[in-house]
């Protein structure tokens, strides 16, 4: 991902990047911290703009901290929808046909192999 291209990515993708950083964090984040996590490919002002937009949509909440704000993600209306989605799709045993899951379940042998592959790749954990 060329850093120079980052600003030209669709707004939706930028929002997703900021949102994932907030959800993965242990506590509230400042725009600067968010910018650091997502690799500094975005200007601070862009991150601040995205955070304000997310706040207006109700996807994040914010608190005043010092001279600026810190942001916390919240399960908004979309989260409720997703929850319903989860419940409704769980009823359908054929859901795998419509949804493409990122990873499928591992067998014992799969797990052993996978660990060997990742360790063999160096800097493994």
């Amino acid at each position: 991902m060329g850093d120079k291209n980052a600003e030209r990515r669709p707004a939706g993708e930028l929002e997703a990047g900021v949102l994932t950083a907030l959800w993965a964090a242990d506590g509230p984040l400042t725009p600067g911290q968010v910018q650091e996590i997502i690799g500094g490919s975005l200007a601070r002002t862009t991150v601040t703009t995205i955070l304000s937009r997310l706040y207006e949509k109700g996807t994040v909440t914010r608190k005043r901290s010092g001279r600026g704000f810190v942001y916390v993600p919240t399960e908004d209306a979309s989260g409720l929808t997703a929850r319903r989605m989860h419940a409704e799709l769980a009823k359908d045993e054929d859901r795998g046909a419509v949804l493409s899951r990122f990873v499928s379940q591992l067998s014992d042998e799969d797990e052993r192999l996978l660990r060997a592959l990742l360790d063999g790749d160096g800097d493994g954990r």
Binding site: M1, G2, G12, E13, E15, A16, G17, L19, T20, A21, W23, A24, I37, I38, G39, K57, T59, P73, E75, D76, A77, S78, G79, T81, A82, R83, R84, M85, H86, E88, L89, D92, D94, R95, A97, V98, L99, S100, R101, F102, V103, S104, Q105, L106, S107, D108, E109, D110, E111, L113, L114, R115, L117, L118, G120, D121, R125
Partner: protein, 313 residues
Amino acid sequence: MIYCVWLPLLVPFLAAPASRRLASALPPRQAIWLLTTTAAGLAAASSCALALLIVPGATHLHAVAALGDLLTPLYGGSPDAVIAIAVTAGALLAWCTTRLVRGLQRRLRQLRHAARLAAEADGELVVLTDEHPDAYALPGSPGRIVVTSGMLRALSAPEREALLAHERAHLRDRHHVFTALVDLAALCHPALRILREPLAYALERSADESAARTVGSRRLTARAIGRAALAARASSAGDRTRPALALSATTGPVPRRVAALLGSSTEPRTARPLARSFAALAVAACLALSAGASLQAADDLHDGIEVAQGETP
């Protein structure tokens, strides 16, 4: 003349295994097209063959014969055999059609449902507060990516980008359409069922490669997949409600995907060019044979009808 009509019914038993073999040696994108084309083409040809098998027997019915201005029933062996074949083919075709219509309705209902849920979401990404790592693409216009907070916490920031890129590829390339086509084709002919699993794998591989190109690293993408799968397994280890995985003799898709991205030798290396060409030729020949036999059978039937109408051959 009458033998052609049986070929499209038998060819899938050869062509489906051959195309599965070939798909495992092809790059994901080509494998997707191969599997989808094979499944749809063979399903269409075998359904045509069933329909053609009904006609000679049906002409023994006075009403049908009158409709076609036939002076005599179509010739095609002993009347008893012709009628028995027509009845069997008719029953099979009716059964397949019922299954196909039901399957199509079911799939459309699922997709409409997913699209409705996707439309309710505000933004490309929907995060769910859930410690169990999970992520999937929800097809719709536009589609959405649903991911749990547990999944986001299990991955590093660059790995999260790889995850998002993978799911975006599924949505952008409309992978659910290919899945639906092959699933429906498999309802038309039992031999085509074995194409579903290789298609699912090829779609995942295609999304993986897409993600690797987007984030600029195959290794990073491999690590994202591997760590996500391990985290999901660790989380469900004590969970009795999740179905135990029955198959353990074969390597599951996740290690194969990771190995393919790392270029490791665990992935069955692409077959030798000669073997690959041979398999490609075999699949192409089977498709041509199936389509050709259907056309020939239709042509023979047409000739037969003209004879029965009293025209000189």
